[in-house]
Symmetry: C2
Subunit: 83 residues, 2 copies
């Protein structure tokens, strides 16, 4: 898994997929990340941009990590963000 994330919404989608892969509820993830279930909901939907801190907490809880690299052209998998 190595997903590109350019918007809060893409990040939310990635987080949601990782959570479901582990069969965790938003509540379980919230507890592990030290946040509320409602906050997880908002992060996953990407409607409201979150704090960097919160995102990092969620990623850590999911055993994921963030990488920063030069913008690539297409040979990276982009998150299909179309309904």
């Amino acid at each position: 898994m190595n997903d590109l994330a350019r918007t809060p919404r893409q990040i939310g989608t990635i987080i949601q997929r990782a959570r479901k892969k582990r069969d965790w509820t938003q509540m379980q993830l919230a507890e592990r990340a030290g946040l509320r279930q409602a906050t997880i909901s908002m992060i996953e939907s990407g409607q409201k941009p979150a704090k960097l801190e919160s995102i990092l907490a969620v990623l850590a809880a999911l055993d994921l990590e963030l990488r920063i690299g030069a913008r690539s052209k297409g040979h990276e998998r982009d998150i299909e963000e179309l309904f």
Copy 2:
């Protein structure tokens, strides 16, 4: 360039390096990202956690992108699916 970023401070350092590599001042980066010079300063130092939005704006201005992947021990790990 593909740097690991687990804390706001690490992210700040990566951003600062990318900015200097381009020989931009904080003011120039701020203008391109739609933020203040003071905000860039805080993001680079990582002292105050920023909004995800702001980080994404800065990364876009620097032609960088964010990737999310499984936490790796050392180098690359291909145990894609746990459980």
